[in-house]
Amino acid sequence: MNLRLLLAHTKVELLTLLRSPGFLIPTMLFPSMFFLMFAAPNLKSSLAANFSTGSFMAFAVFTVTFFQFGVGIANERDNPWSSYVRTLPASPLYRSLGKVLTASILALAAALFLVITAHFSTPLDLPLSRWPRIFLALAGGGLMMGLLGTLLAYLVSPKAALPLANLIYLPLAFMGGMWMPPQLLPQLVQKLSPYLPSRQWMEVVWPAVSGDPWKAQHWLALAGFTVAFALLTVWAQRRDESIRF
């Protein structure tokens, strides 16, 4: 592992995103804006505020990771610059790790921004001792959604990636219970919800926020989705390479 190379690639990825207002503003602001408009006014108790803040933090992480990998990689696929970078003497792993680091930094920033918003607009009360588990839960789901984004990027054409990403992202967030507690979802959605990766993710976020113990089945489901997305991504990437090279 060459740290200098990892830093160089992370810097390039980070600068690229920080200078794209079209990415940065929506991914950073939308989750907090949604939270302020739809969730915060109804959050009268700390219990409700904690629960909702946890959900929206996951939504913020989801937004960053899914779009950075989904749309970002799709746009790069056709770009001759990617070809140039592949001629440099470094394993492609460095570039990928640079993206993961960048996504982690931005996801953390988006989640932090949401916590600050919640702190000033709701009776949020999360003791410090709960944060390590919240962090783990958010990281696990972020990884899964980053892989889902990557899969999408390799499956469809760069032009189709953005609209399709939106088409997947909004229902996944809504039906997974990121915007409102699952018992408030429409009947049909309540039935479908447990089969979605976003809902399984919420099932590990909520206990972390409330301080209840985790149930192994939800972590297993999360791991299952993650492995499935990873395998499909490898397959899609090979297929894409065999078409283009």
């Binding site: 190379l5 830093l7 610059w81 140039y84 003497p89």
Partner: protein
């Protein structure tokens, strides 16, 4: 020998882009790959720099497989002109390239050599065509490579910028570097190359010194009207339309002199160039011997 291509085949989609190509790049030489568009130059380069794997045959770069990152440590490549990342600045792009090599020259020095110092903080997408080309070539030299692969480095440049880039390429060679460049300008090969390999339709058509290549494919057309065609030497190809003859030759001056001295009646004499494209294809089709 710093790079070697042995009997390589590569199909792109349904097109047989390379059909049995072999060539060697010797340490310290400047080898020009010349050929019309679609000849397979870019495909061959993409194999040499490790972007693609050949369907059959073998490619070696510094004794290793160019698909292995460590083999590419001796290599510097130009990106394609249009392909810069969306939001980076000139010096940041050079820094990224430099980070991959053990002993790169300083960023300032690279900027200065390629006349980019004033543009260091410019967004790469705000560069003019000539500036972007300079940056592309600068990137190939950013890691002090032993072998620089320059894919059409001066396409679309004005004469002055072209000469400035040529100067940097010659300087790199003088300091012991090896260069493989692709071009479809015969003058560029003439000005820079020690050796030229001509590629057409995925095969090596011919190779030699720039002078030799020019003699073989640097053809002209001598056109005139005459009742009968006198016996003339140095004619590579004859086309006839009624009483109008078109003769292809490497030495138009000598041919015209001979035509006049033969005493034959002729009129409407014209001397016209033959594009490299036409010359290559004529050689390839066996209409003209190379």
């Amino acid at each position: 020998m710093i790079a070697e291509v042995q009997n390589v085949y590569k199909k792109l989609g349904r097109v047989q882009a390379l059909a049995g190509v072999s060539l060697e790049v010797n340490e310290g030489e400047l080898l020009a790959l010349l050929g019309p568009n679609g000849a397979g130059k870019t495909t061959l380069v993409s194999l040499l720099v490790g972007l693609r794997a050949p369907d059959a045959g073998r490619i070696s770069l510094g004794g290793g497989d160019p698909r292995q990152p460590s083999s590419r440590r001796i290599l510097g490549v130009t990106p394609q002109n249009t392909g810069f990342p969306p939001a980076l600045r000139v010096h940041e792009v050079i820094d990224l390239a430099r980070a991959h090599y053990p002993n790169p020259p300083g960023t300032e020095e690279i900027l200065r050599r390629f006349d980019l110092a004033d543009l260091a903080k410019r967004n790469v997408n705000a560069l003019s065509g000539g500036q972007a080309r300079r940056l592309a070539v600068a990137l190939a030299f950013s890691g002090s490579p032993r072998l620089a692969v320059l894919d059409e480095p001066t396409t679309g440049l004005d004469v002055e910028s072209r000469r400035a880039l040529w100067e940097q390429i010659v300087r790199f060679k003088r300091e012991g570097g090896t260069v493989l460049l692709t071009t479809h300008y015969l003058e560029e090969a003439e000005a820079l190359a020690d050796r030229v390999v001509v590629l057409a339709r995925g095969r090596v058509l011919t190779e030699g010194s720039p002078d030799e290549i020019k003699r073989r494919v640097g053809l002209r057309r001598v056109r005139f009207a005459a009742a009968t065609l006198p016996d003339l030497s140095g004619v590579k190809k004859v086309e006839r339309e009624g009483d109008r003859y078109t003769l292809w030759t490497a030495n138009a001056d000598a041919l015209v002199r001979e035509l006049v001295l033969s005493g034959a009646e002729f009129s409407d004499l014209e001397v016209l160039p033959v594009s490299l494209e036409e010359a290559f294809l004529a050689v390839l089709d066996g209409e003209v011997s190379a």
